[in-house]
Amino acid sequence: MSDYKHWIIARDAENIAWLHLDKADSKVNLLAGEVIDELSNILDTLNSSPPQGIVIVSDKTDSFIFGADIKEFTSLKDAQQAGQFLQRGHDLMNKLEAMSCPTVSMIHGICLGGGTELSLACDYIVASNEDVTKIGLPEIKLGIHPGYGGTQRSIARCGPLPAMSIMLTGRMLAARAAKKMGLIDEITPLRQLKNAAVDYVMRAPKRKKPALLHRLSNQSWLRPLVAKQLRKQVAGKAKSEHYPAPYALINLWKRCAGNKKQMLAEEIHSVAQLAITPTARNLVRVFFLQETLKNLGKQLEYKAHNVHVIGGGIMGGDIAAWCAIQGYRVTVEDQSPERLAVTYKRAQNSFKKKFKRNRRAIRDANDRLIMDHRGHGIHTADLVIEAIFEDAEVKRSLYQRIEPLMKADAILATNTSSIMLEDLSSALQQPGRLVGLHFFNPVALMPLVEVIHGAQTDAAVIQKALAFTRDIGKLPLPTRSSPGFLVNRILMPYLLEAVIMVAEGIAPEAVDKAATDFGMPMGPIELADTVGLDICRNVASILSSTLGLALPASLGSMVDDGKLGKKSGQGFYRYNKGKAVKNKNAHYANMQELQDRLIFRLLNEAVACWRENIVENDDQVDAGVIFGTGFAPFRGGPIRHIRSEGSELLSTKLDQLEKNFGERYRQDAAWNDINS
């Protein structure tokens, strides 16, 4: 029975059929078309001489099934094709569910999307309670919702509220949480997992129903009420015109939850419609952009055993704490124990946020994070990250002092956000070892790191820096050394335009709303406050000379008055317990104009970066702007946005803006090349 490409079937002494999934030519298991078809055939064969039971297991190390093969997704042309694609999965799940013998899904490691739906079609789900085990239905992040029967079956298992919370957030659950929510039946240590699976096959116990409250909320007379509540919650996070999937999911449930057959059929219809929306297509593209960046870090095997961070300020300290969280031994150098005590305390908050109340994990992270005011770590470091304040002269003299102390092959990385590498490397005997690792604030939350290379940077050093960035769980973006690099350069004109608008007398609330209406996660004014107006001013003034940006006078005077934004309690907004106090009645008549003024400055600069090859290609421009600024992911990034709206149409608008607001809207030379 081993004539399958992706599956291995083994019957044991108890006549239990163990179906091992080991997808060929792949590091992880995906529920690709072939995998589905093979399993379907296997089930047919098993039906002819039914075993005692069936257990589905993964043969990949520490991972179960990552979900459907998203590549297959991208080839779907229309809703009809999408419907057929989904029907194939539905047929398999229905067949699995109808098997006469007990069926068990035995999960260890990551189990997502289609993998979870396959498990839900089994009678029982047992999972290891190891840290690597994570179970989820993250389809919503790709602009769709579960489409292999997962909506109906997850609700049937845990009741609508827990199931909806899993599907609407798309979050990954630890095994313990999944058990608590009723999504899975049993958790055990890995060493007992097989015993548990066999036990469920042999005992075939009756499955527990969801709690009364949960069954109640599935009643037709209650559903509209609950649905309304759910929609309200979702609306706080995503607008329906930007992200239709959560609303479609709520609707599907509200309409069909009483009827299994109908719900399964309508699920196909709903996902087929969603799958061809621009939102879903763009989100899928963002997913692949993410994979592309990850792969950039996999070109070279490299491990920095010791990391030495110089500068224990917010950036340096947070970078060090992040590295410690990721398993690196890190020494942090600053001038005095007084300063490092602050760094250390701040790191405790990072550890608590990451590890909650896991005492051992916090202890281990602390043991890896070494405060080092004497700078001992420099001698053994493979990677030195400099994160002192932005002053080229000071940085150069630091480099001159430390280079003789460094190991011959150690890399020196600077976290500068605005100084050109060429201005710093001149201080080094080996200029080729200098690379930029531009982290964004807050380090723990921002996924992107710009890996800056100057003309002088060794190719191998760039590769190592990319690999390191990937290894600490960040997305590396190789970026050419030029003023502002990619992200700040594209972001800064947009932020400054917002500042200009406020100086013109437009309410900051209106400016921010124009941006969030476009799909930005946070308005530019609030963002400037959050970053810190002093930092904004510094970066802007460095960029102003090279990029011809006019620095709004209001920004400077606010900084001089000590209004630094969120951190000082007063910026453009006043802050109460860290939250901006906003005037809900703020209003502006022509919101579209505000939005255009903001977004076109960003788009125009993105085009310029593309033309100048600041990053390798248009995909990377989009990836950098999305992961570095949070630019509306459902629009797929600035270049993609220009393409889908039509560059000609947008360039006309841009010309109009230039007429109205001056030459800062002068079209970039490459604008007309965008579609070619």
Binding site: N306, R329, E338, L340, Y344, K345, D367, I370, M371, R374
Partner: protein, 430 residues
Amino acid sequence: MSAGRKVYIVDGSRTPQLKSRGKIGPFSAGDLAVGAARPLLSRLALSPGLLDEVILGCMMPGEREANIARVVALRLGIPQTVPAWTVQRNCASGMQSIDSAYHNIASGRANLVLAGGVEAMSHAPVLYNPAMVNWLGELMRARSLTQRLQIVSKFRPGHLKPVIALIFGLTDDIVGLNMGETAENIATNFNISRQQMDEFSVRSHQRLARALDAGDLEEIEVLYDANGNFYDHDDGMRADSSMENLAKLRPAFDKKYGSVTAGNSAQITDGAAWVLLASEEAVASHNLPVLASIQDSQWAGLDPAVMGMGPVHAMTPIMQRHQFGIDDVDFWEINEAFATQVLGCLSAWQDDDYCRTHLNLTQAVGEIPQDRLNIDGGGISLGHPVGASGARIVLHLAKILNRKQAKRGIASLCIGGGQGGAMLLENEAA
């Protein structure tokens, strides 16, 4: 005599010693040992996988720290394949760990050993008394509600009387004396006055203050706690210590007629100290610096009731083996458990009678000059975290020999239960 191959002290580090102030200190024994060793390992450009073993002395590890040496080694990121073990010889646990490492290297079993001592005295447990333990046991075994109520009714306030482990740890149950009482014995035997003890104590504080000002305690590594505090010096030091202040203190043990006070005894403190020991080959092949070599070591036993005399009993055989007179040794570190106990040791070596009766000598050894003994303070000013002190004095003696470009030194301490330990170091560069 030399145990075989030559053994070097490469380098070492310690925590500041933090005085116990009536509540549990910020660092557990494991935290202290990790905090002291990390900077040492990061400044020695030496892969921790090269270590042959880790030995740590500790009298009372925390409840989660069985075989604390292994716990600490793994927390330090030292590879799992490097074994680690804990030694306990009460107040000399830290010297025992160095002695064990010394012997393993000398005999050829090891080339590189990380050895140290640690004690978090403020973390010493407070335990339930046996009546309470039994009562809890019964309660847990009870099945029915009536049974449970019955047992609950047997509870008595006396059950709540705690057992303070530190008090028992510092009491010799064989002779029924706590350490302070054994010090009073020495004061009586050698006729040491309260005045002498207090003078010794003031000097200890003054010497520590001078050393701190002069930067002569560079082996101290800063500790950081989760609340944003840092600890960079021995915080029991009182630069303003004076005879007047010390005179105000009441005797702590023989309350009415005694003279041993909290002020002329070692402080209860938390701390850790480490040294890296290496064979001659390891020094050469890894191009390591050296502070000193270990030339000899000695353990001795004596009457537990005068355990504070331990140092003279341990140092004497070393002096004999090498045929040293007082002047052949440049610097001395005798751990200050009690001022009277150090003074008693000094007196004993000047006393023909004591030397003949107790040390098998024909005559007195002589007087150790005060300006070559504990020149940077000791347990009275900087505390005596019992398991750590042995390692601390060996490390600091090695540092003194380097600083003073002196050749030879002896570190020694007394041990609760009636023992003494001593170690002879040599600075070959001098």
